[in-house]
Subunit: 286 residues, 2 copies
């Protein structure tokens, strides 16, 4: 992993090694904050405006105001990408409840922008697909990308024991998402289906919903766990994972237990969108 | 408010004004951590061993290990109380997921011990009692005192608008607790009743359950919201609040809309326990 040298703390370029936040911040005391995470490819932050818009929406759900304009944050992200000099990376925007007077009510938010080196993706994982385990859990304030990952992180040991990569959260048998990704199936009827409600509206999910209709019928609605077990294909989607095939949920093989043709087609679709976006972004910067 | 000068960060006595935590800590990035909060009265930390035991249990639920022994933490708490010199205060213990390599998996936890000045209690609030509003919400990992207060903090604006002090969380009509306190009623049948499951096991709640049986019949079981509306009395309990009478929930007056005799008796019971504890603790320190 390359060492990432710089970050932004409240608009100041800072060294990651020494950057800190005061101990009265509401993220530390009360887990109160939101974040977002976007990818950098070929030195370009991907779909930055989409992520900035969601970041601001998440902040609004928690009643927090961005201490800088979207334009100023956009500039900081570009500046960080240039100065750290990583071709392929992740950018994390974190907005906290700030230094609370009484340790409970939000104050002026603190904004941290971090860059993370990302290793090249594990092709074997994409070629083989992953196993998920179902888990009864409804994420709190699901429409906001809050920093709360209590259940997701706590499940890491169980996932390891079960040989699974992610947990598939369901609310009384209605499928939602995993801790860090959205979820799709190709139904028995050959339609692309993804849960509608009480989920985070992923940027990758949105891109698929906007473009997959050209080659497959798409349904956004409640999805039952039983429908997943009987699905032809399944995959999860996220900024870092793109679409990652799911070949097993609990003891149920999905389809023939191998990544299917729709998953592959969606991968190509996403790669094409990213390539087009990079070429536009690089042209705009020249 | 008196200024609190010192805190402990990972075992080092530090100035609160300059104490910080690194930006890769899992509390900041993922809201992953636990805490506890105890009262200091007449310069003595109250029921410290009970709080330390719960702090360690909470850490265990999140798979975190205390980086110091309970004995060492106890010494730090006493040292902080002496050096800050506050007669009446609160002590906050915070244990975070630590500096995570990948921004997700827990590492060596960070331990922060803070002291907060507490104003004398608002007697008017205790004499008049408070209003609550019911709110459908089940706390995540309720048995751990995690730092996650997303819903509680987000409700502050609604509480203000409704003229209420706290929200009464219920899970499909089954009463649980408020964001920062346990909940009791005196039922129509004259029994002291408090919810049993999916709640934080409060230290004040526990003290009441251990001692109230001398003058009232006690039941620990599921409590329906309808039973609250018809109750003779209600109160919430916490470290800072002791037992605080509830005289209204939504549009329903509780009893005659004034604090009742059982609430007053429990207040006396708690005050006597605290007085006895302080005198024992001070003797043990002499």
């Amino acid at each position: 992993m390359k060492e990432v040298k710089y970050c932004y703390v409240n608009g100041e370029l800072s060294l990651v090694a020494t950057a800190t936040i005061g101990i009265n911040d509401l993220a530390l005391l009360r887990g109160y904050g939101v974040f977002d995470f976007l990818a950098v490819r070929q030195g370009a932050p991907l779909f930055l405006d989409d992520y900035l818009a969601r970041f601001e929406r998440s902040a609004g759900v928690l009643g927090l105001q961005l201490p800088f304009s979207s334009g100023a944050i956009r500039e900081m992200v570009w500046s960080l990408v240039r100065i750290n000099g990583l071709d392929q990376a992740g950018i994390r925007l974190v907005l906290t409840g700030g230094y609370s007077e009484d340790g409970y009510a939000p104050a002026v938010p603190n904004l941290v922008i971090l860059e993370h080196d990302l290793p090249p993706r594990n092709e074997q994982l994409w070629n083989q697909g992953i196993k998920m385990i179902s888990y009864a859990h409804q994420r709190e304030l699901p429409e906001a990308k809050s920093i709360n990952y209590l259940t997701g992180i706590r499940l890491l040991d169980l996932l390891k024991k079960e040989g699974a990569t992610e947990a598939l959260f369901h609310d009384n048998g209605w499928v939602r998402e995993s801790a860090r990704a959205n979820f799709f199936i190709v139904s028995e009827q050959g339609r692309l289906v993804t849960p509608e409600k009480k989920i985070l509206h992923g940027i990758t999910r949105q891109r698929i919903l906007q473009s997959a209709g050209h080659f497959i019928e798409v349904e956004v609605r409640e999805v039952a766990l039983e429908e997943v077990f009987a699905a032809r294909e399944a995959f999860i989607t996220s900024t870092t994972k793109g679409n990652l095939p799911v070949v097993q949920v609990d003891d149920h093989l999905i389809g023939d237990g191998k990544p299917g043709p729709v998953s592959r087609a969606i991968s190509t679709l996403l790669e094409n969108q990213i390539a087009a976006h990079i070429s536009q972004t690089v042209q705009a910067q020249v």
